[in-house]
């Protein structure tokens, strides 16, 4: 632990990133539902209204498409807005503004227009929030040229990635995980930026490469401990940025271990895991000792009932089983 590292919550780490960047750059402002007085539904923006005032900490009506579009417009004209969409499920209301406008503006203007917008949202299965509040929709943003996409799994990564996202001159989507807001981790104090496009090996191991992001990372680390007791050492690689993707770190790990398991909370079909698998297959074909295992969410909306809900996404036991299959153990 570095001298300035201390243990804080994921939501506090995000708060620090916002606070530092708002102090550093008067162009940074935040918008979203209930983020001002109330400090946000997940308390990420607590205290910011007091320090920065209502002009830079803006409570919006329930009008996602328009306030996101306004964020795009403000970004084009010199501001650095951080727009919060309370649930990634509601991002469906802002897709025109994000995909047709923000993602394409720089290209369509021949590079002269820039959109330094950050779209913050959160997703993933929580505790019984059911179909419209539990999705993992990163694939939609992953698929869109012109967008960057980060998904922090730890408080340190959250602070570092959000800081870099705000400083980036192009639109960045930051998808947090609702179950991680209260997770703890070591976070450097002061300004802290993690370069986008750099993966993090969360755990080293020689037998199998386990690739996961966001809420699945802690689950994979737990599975890795379980596997270590059987003598199987898993290397857990967290891409952190899905776009741009750190292929080099992933491929180096694959070449080392020759066995791959990718764990994704989102539905398998058309998901990021499948794309990463195709990259590995193309670039490290001769290093695969087993077919690439993909664990993903089932092909369904998330049910309300708890047992059904948990049956829809990869659990620790599933990860352990997948690793065993991959290493023929």
């Amino acid at each position: 632990m570095g001298a300035a590292d201390r243990v804080i919550l994921y939501r506090e780490a995000l708060n620090e990133a916002l606070c530092n960047e708002m102090r550093r750059d008067p162009g940074v402002f935040i918008m979203g539902e209930g983020i001002a007085e109330r400090g946000g539904s997940y308390k990420v923006t607590a205290g910011l209204l007091d320090e920065f005032g209502p002009q830079r900490v803006i409570d919006t009506p329930i009008a996602e498409a328009s306030f996101t579009g306004m964020g795009v417009g403000a970004a084009i004209t010199g501001m650095r807005p951080v727009v919060e969409i309370l649930f990634v499920d509601f991002a469906m209301l802002v897709m025109d503004q994000v995909i047709n406008q923000a993602a394409k503006y720089r290209f369509m203007t021949g590079g002269r227009g820039r959109v330094p917008l950050v779209l913050r949202t959160q997703g993933g299965v929580g505790d019984g929030l059911a179909a419209q509040h539990s999705q993992s929709l990163e694939a939609l943003f992953y698929h869109t040229p012109g967008l960057k996409l980060v998904m922090p799994s730890t408080p340190g990564d959250a602070k570092g990635l959000l800081t870099s996202a705000i400083r980036d001159d192009d639109p960045v989507v930051c998808i947090e995980h609702k179950l991680l807001y209260l997770s703890e981790g070591e976070v450097p104090a002061g300004e802290y930026a993690i370069e986008l496009g750099r993966a993090d090996v969360k755990r080293s191991g020689g037998d199998v490469t386990v690739i996961a992001w966001s809420g699945m990372v802690p689950r994979c680390l737990a599975a890795a401990e379980h596997l270590a007791a059987s003598g199987i050492e898993a290397e857990v690689v967290d891409p952190r940025s899905l776009v741009p993707l750190d292929r080099d770190t992933i491929l180096a790990s694959v070449r080392k271990t020759e066995h791959v398991v990718i764990v994704q909370e989102a539905v398998r079909r058309g998901g990021v895991a499948s794309d990463i698998a195709s990259i590995i297959q193309a670039e490290a074909f001769d290093y695969l000792d087993a077919p690439i295992e993909i664990l993903a969410g089932r092909d369904t909306a998330i049910p309300y009932n708890k047992q059904l809900e948990q049956a829809c996404i990869p659990q620790e036991a599933d990860i352990v089983a997948a690793v065993r299959r991959a290493v023929y153990a």
Partner: protein
């Protein structure tokens, strides 16, 4: 004045909704309900008054705060309880939960977890009926928060230009989660928005079931005559925060007290007594409802959980 039988029915429904919400909160605290629970307590008169004015073949669409509408539309308590407890015999087989509870057979197209999303669904139901030449009205419940969403403006306009039989019921409880209406609307008389689209609009006291009912009857008649949609803004107030885990500390005490005095159950009971019912009759009615609620809760608690194996098999077969 309204007939006693109608008032009795309406009061019974008011009381049932209140009992259901109170029970739900308790069940939530006991861990039998999880996730989100948005109690309708304090707003009952709107659902009851409007649904009492609807016919059997009409549609309703509601919000995330949808238990009240479901009950007012004739939802069966045991199946509702089972649903919000996530059990197989629930209305949605335990898969929808509180925010997605629905009963298609009674024309209840469902609660919705996305604010405003139900509005076009309801207008669409009216469109279908219109094309088929059927005499149906779609009562679309939505919140003041939803009235700031683009989809409301578009839906209002479409219903207007196509003359659709839609009763837009704007439940103005004066908060969008924690954001007060004054911060999100310059003109807090939200029914004024209807006029901008050429829609007949009015405001009612959302805590007075009789006023709501009478306005709703007029509105439905208008729709059925083919005179187009109607926007009714029913002003009310939550008894509690946005959802079960929100204490609503941002709600000023004096306003909370003001609306407590005007509790829809108090108002509804007063109407009933004025029409000749006795305190005993009322007490008896309340006891019956409570017994029903007990039975419904027991049914819910005894209901089986859905089978994971069957669920997975179903997924793999599809």
């Amino acid at each position: 004045m309204l007939p006693k039988a109608l008032l009795t029915r309406m009061y019974r429904t008011l009381y049932t909704i209140r009992a259901f919400e109170t029970s739900s909160i308790q069940l939530y605290r006991r861990g039998l309900i999880r996730g989100y629970l948005h109690p309708y307590a304090g707003e009952e008169a709107i659902a009851v008054g409007v649904c009492a004015a609807l016919g059997e073949d009409d549609y309703i669409v509601s919000t995330h705060r949808g238990h009240g509408h479901c009950i007012a539309r004739g939802g069966r308590l045991p199946e509702m309880m089972a649903e919000i407890m996530g059990r197989e015999p629930g209305y949605c087989r335990g898969r929808g939960g509180s925010m997605h509870i629905s009963d298609i057979d009674t024309g209840n197209l469902g609660a919705n977890g996305v604010v405003g999303a139900g509005i076009p669904l309801g207008v669409g139901a009216a469109l279908g009926a219109h094309i088929r030449g059927e005499d149906r009205v779609a009562a679309v419940f939505f919140s003041d928060g939803a009235s700031n969403n683009g989809v409301f403006a578009e839906s209002l306009n479409l219903a207007a230009i196509w003359n659709l039989p839609v009763l837009f019921v704007l439940e103005n409880n004066q908060y969008a989660v924690s954001t007060p209406i004054e911060q999100s609307s310059r003109d807090t008389d939200l029914h004024h928005r209807g006029a901008a689209y050429g829609v007949e609009s009015c405001a009612v006291d959302g805590n007075d079931v009789v006023e709501v009912y009478e306005r709703a009857v007029e509105a439905c008649a208008r729709c059925r005559r083919g005179d187009g949609p109607v926007l009714v803004e029913a002003v009310t107030y939550r008894q509690g925060g946005h959802h079960v885990n929100d204490p609503g500390q941002y709600m000023p005490a004096d306003r909370v007290a003001h609306y407590r005095e005007r509790d829809p159950l108090v108002v509804g009971k007063r109407h009933l007594l004025e029409e000749g019912a006795t305190e005993d009759e009322v007490a008896k009615l309340e006891a019956e409802v409570e017994a029903e609620m007990e039975a419904a809760i027991a049914f819910g608690e005894a209901s089986p959980e859905p089978s994971v194996e069957a669920f997975v098999a179903e997924l793999e077969a599809s």
